[in-house]
C-alpha cells in the first residue's frame, strides 16, 4: 500500500511508486441492500478517515428520513427530466452501492430524478440541477440519474446547497459515443452532512468529464466510481476542494478498468486552512487482467495554508495485466511554499498579494479544465472569498 508523504513539513514530496494495496479493491463488497452491509465501526479501510460521530447515524440505520431535498431545474430544451419511482428499470444501471451509507440511500429514497440527453442530440445549453438540502436538523435520501443516450452530448451542473443531512446515489450512464461534462458542486451551509456515491458508467467510445467541487458543509464525503461498459471509454475526473476550520472533506475515487483500450485521468487539488480542517483523498485504480492497453494517470495535490489543517492522500494503483499503455500516480501535500512566497516578495509584492497569487496559481491548472464559464467564475469567486477569510 502506498501512503503518500503527508507530513506538512515535506514541501511537495512525491510518492510515485507503483504498489499493490493490502486488500485488492476488486474484492470490495457491493450491494443495493443496506442490510447486507455490517454497520461500520470506523476502523474499516473505507471508513478509517471518516469521523463517524459526525455522520448523524447515516451509517447505522438510526437516521430515518425526516425531510426531503428540493430540486430546482434549469434544463436545456433538448434535455428530458422525469421523476420516477423506485421500480423504474433504468435505476441502478450505473453501479451498485459499495458502502453502507450508499446502500442506505439506495434503500431509502422514494422518488428519483432522471435527466436524459436523447440520442444523437447535442444540448444547446447547460442543464442545472440544484438540490436544496432538507433543512437544519432534518435528514433526506435521494437519487439522481443522468443518462446520455448514444452519441448524446451535454453539460450538466449538479449544485448542492442548503442545510441538513443528506445521502444519495448519483448515476451517470453514458451510451456509446456519448459525451458528458458534469460538475457536482457541494456548496453546503456550515451544518450540512452529505454522503454521496457517484456511479460513472461509460459506454463504448464515450467520454465523461466528471468534476467535483467541494466548498461547504460540516462533513462531505463523495465517492465516485468509474466503470467501463465497452472499449474506448475515456474518463477525466477532476476535483477541487477548499476546506476551512472544522470541515471534513473526503473524496474517494475508484476507477475500475476491466475493459481494454480505456483511459482515465484523475486530477484533484485541495487547499486547507484553519484548525481542524481535514481533507481525505483516496484514489484507487484497478487495472484488471482483461484491461489491455489501459492508459491511466492520477494526481492529487494539497496545499496546507495554515497550521492545524491536515490532508490525507492515498493513491493506490493495482495492476493485474502487463499489457498497459501507461499508468502512474502521484500525491503531494505541501505546506505553503516559502520559496515561492520569498520569490514573489523579493519582487516587491506584499506578502498577502504573494499568497493570493500562489493559491490562485495552484488551482489554475484545474480551473482551466473547467470549461463551464459559470462554474469557473463561481469557483474563482469562492477561492477569493476563502482567501479573504484568513486575511491573506
Amino acid at each position: 500500500m502506498t501512503v503518500a508523504d503527508n507530513t506538512a513539513a515535506a514541501n511537495v514530496a512525491e510518492a510515485a511508486e507503483v504498489t499493490i494495496p493490502a486488500a485488492s479493491r476488486a474484492e470490495r463488497f457491493a450491494s443495493y441492500d443496506v442490510e447486507a452491509f455490517e454497520v461500520p465501526g470506523g476502523r474499516e479501510e473505507n471508513w478509517r478517515f471518516t469521523p463517524m460521530k459526525r455522520l448523524r447515524g447515516l451509517h447505522d440505520g438510526s437516521a430515518p428520513a425526516t425531510g426531503e431535498a428540493e430540486l430546482e431545474l434549469e434544463t436545456a430544451p433538448e434535455v428530458r427530466v422525469e421523476t420516477v419511482g423506485r421500480d423504474d428499470q433504468r435505476l441502478g444501471q450505473a453501479g451498485v452501492p459499495s458502502d453502507r451509507i450508499s446502500a442506505q440511500a439506495y434503500s431509502s429514497f422514494e422518488k428519483a430524478t432522471l435527466v436524459t440527453v436523447p440520442a444523437e442530440t447535442k444540448a444547446s445549453a447547460r442543464t442545472l440541477v440544484r438540490l436544496h438540502g432538507p433543512g437544519e436538523g432534518k435528514t433526506a435520501y435521494g437519487h439522481v440519474q443522468l443518462r446520455a443516450e448514444q452519441f448524446g452530448e451535454a453539460t450538466v451542473v449538479l449544485d448542492h446547497v442548503g442545510s441538513g443531512t443528506y445521502a444519495d446515489n448519483i448515476e451517470f450512464v453514458l451510451g456509446d459515443g456519448a459525451q458528458l461534462t458534469v460538475v457536482s458542486v457541494q456548496d453546503w451551509a456550515d451544518d450540512a452532512v452529505h454522503v454521496s456515491e457517484q456511479h460513472l458508467k461509460l459506454g463504448k467510445d464515450s467520454r465523461l468529464k466528471h468534476i467535483v467541487v467541494t466548498l461547504g458543509g460540516d462533513l462531505v464525503r463523495v465517492s465516485p466510481t468509474a466503470t467501463f461498459a465497452g472499449p474506448g471509454g475515456d474518463v477525466e475526473m477532476l476535483g477541487l476542494h477548499f476546506a476551512d476550520s472544522g470541515q471534513h472533506q473526503e473524496h474517494r475515487l475508484f476507477v475500475d478498468h476491466a475493459v481494454p483500450h480505456c483511459k482515465s485521468n484523475v486530477l484533484y487539488k485541495g487547499a486547507l486552512q484553519g484548525d481542524g480542517a481535514h481533507s481525505v483523498w483516496i484514489g484507487d485504480v484497478l487495472i484488471r487482467a482483461a484491461a489491455e492497453a489501459t492508459e491511466t494517470f492520477e494526481l492529487n495535490r494539497n496545499l496546507v495554508l495554515t497550521e492545524g489543517a491536515r490532508a490525507d492522500s492515498v493513491p493506490n494503483l493495482e495492476i493485474e495485466t502487463g499489457e498497459i499503455s501507461g499508468a502512474g500516480h502521484a500525491s503531494a501535500t505541501g505546506r505553503f511554499d516559502d520559496e515561492q512566497l520569498f520569490y514573489l516578495q523579493a519582487r516587491g509584492l506584499p506578502e498577502e498579494e504573494a499568497r493570493r497569487l500562489v493559491v490562485r496559481g495552484f488551482f489554475h491548472e484545474i480551473l482551466m479544465k473547467i470549461e463551464v464559464p459559470e462554474v469557473r467564475e463561481r469557483l474563482e469567486a469562492a477561492i477569493e472569498a476563502e482567501l479573504e477569510a484568513i486575511g491573506v
Binding site: 515561492q340 520569498f342 520569490y343 514573489l344 516578495q345 523579493a346 506578502e351 504573494a354 497569487l357
Partner: protein, 253 residues
C-alpha cells in the same frame, strides 16, 4: 547617489538540524554607478550573502548591519526591501506554477512603482526588454519559470531587473547556465541597464569569464564567509591564473 553598506555581517543558515554559521563578518560598501564583483569558491557563502541582504527566511542575520542610504534594511520585510530599491537576480530562480509571467511582471512593477503602469506603455516596455534579451514573446503566457531552461530563467531575472529598475542589483551567478551567445546577450542587457540608470551592481560569480563582458570597478575575493581581499580588475586576472587555493587555505586558518 545611493549607498549600500554592509557592515560586519554575520549570518546563519537555518536548517532542520539547527543553525549553521556561514557569514563571518562581511564588510562592503557599494555606491550607485559602481560595479563590484564578488568572486569566490563554491560554498564560500556568496549566495548566503545575497539572500541575507534580500531577507530570505532561511537565513538569519546574527549581527552586523545592512544600510541603504543609512536606512536599516534588516528591519524591512522582503517586499519592503524590494520596494526600497534592492533587487536580487537569483542563482536558482523559483518556479511559480499557474501564475503567468505577464501577470507576475505587471504585479511586481505595480508594487515597486507604487501604481499600475499604463497598459499601452507597459506592453511596449516589456516587449522591448524581452526583445533585447532575445526572449520569445510566448514566454509571457507561461507560468513563472516553470519548465524554463537554466538560461531562460537567467534571462528572465535580468528582464525583471530591467523592468523593476532597482538602485542596487545583486546578480548571483547570473552567468552560470548560460552558453557563450546567451552570456553575451545577458551581459549587454546588464550593461545597457547600467549605462542608463544610476545603479550599484554586486556581481557574484565563480568564473572570471563574466567580467570580460561586464566590467567591474572593484573585485572582492570571498572565502570562508567574508571578503578576504579587495582590489581592481587585475585581481580577477590573478584569480583566473592561480585559482582560489591561496584564499581558501588562508580563510581556513
Amino acid at each position: 547617489m545611493a549607498t549600500l553598506e554592509i557592515k560586519d555581517l554575520h549570518a546563519d543558515v537555518v536548517t532542520d538540524e539547527g543553525n549553521k554559521p556561514i557569514l563571518n563578518g562581511v564588510n562592503l560598501t557599494i555606491r550607485s554607478g559602481e560595479t563590484h564583483a564578488i568572486m569566490g569558491p563554491n560554498g564560500s557563502g556568496k549566495s548566503t550573502l545575497s539572500y541575507a541582504i534580500a531577507g530570505h527566511p532561511k537565513y538569519e542575520v546574527t549581527s552586523g548591519e545592512v544600510l541603504l542610504d543609512g536606512e536599516n534594511v534588516l528591519e524591512m520585510s522582503v517586499d519592503e526591501r524590494a520596494r526600497a530599491g534592492l533587487f536580487l537576480a537569483m542563482q536558482y530562480p523559483v518556479e511559480v506554477p499557474g501564475v503567468s509571467m505577464s501577470n507576475f511582471l505587471r504585479s511586481a512593477a505595480t508594487a515597486v512603482r507604487g501604481e499600475a503602469p499604463k497598459l499601452r506603455h507597459w506592453v511596449k516596455e516589456v516587449k522591448d526588454e524581452m526583445g533585447q534579451l532575445e526572449i520569445s514573446p510566448e514566454f509571457a503566457e507561461r507560468s513563472v519559470n516553470e519548465g524554463f531552461s537554466g538560461g531562460e530563467k537567467k534571462r528572465h531575472e535580468i528582464l525583471q531587473m530591467a523592468l523593476l529598475k532597482p538602485k542596487f542589483a545583486i546578480l548571483d551567478e547570473t552567468d552560470s547556465g548560460l552558453d557563450v551567445d546567451a552570456l553575451r546577450t545577458v551581459s549587454s542587457a546588464v550593461n545597457e541597464y547600467k549605462s542608463n540608470n544610476e545603479v550599484g551592481v554586486m556581481l557574484i560569480t565563480h568564473y572570471s569569464r563574466l567580467l570580460k563582458h561586464i566590467e567591474p570597478d572593484f573585485v572582492h575575493v570571498f572565502a570562508g564567509g567574508k571578503v578576504v581581499q579587495s582590489g581592481g580588475k587585475e585581481l580577477a586576472d590573478e584569480l583566473e591564473a592561480d585559482g582560489y587555493v591561496k584564499f581558501t587555505t588562508e580563510a581556513a586558518v
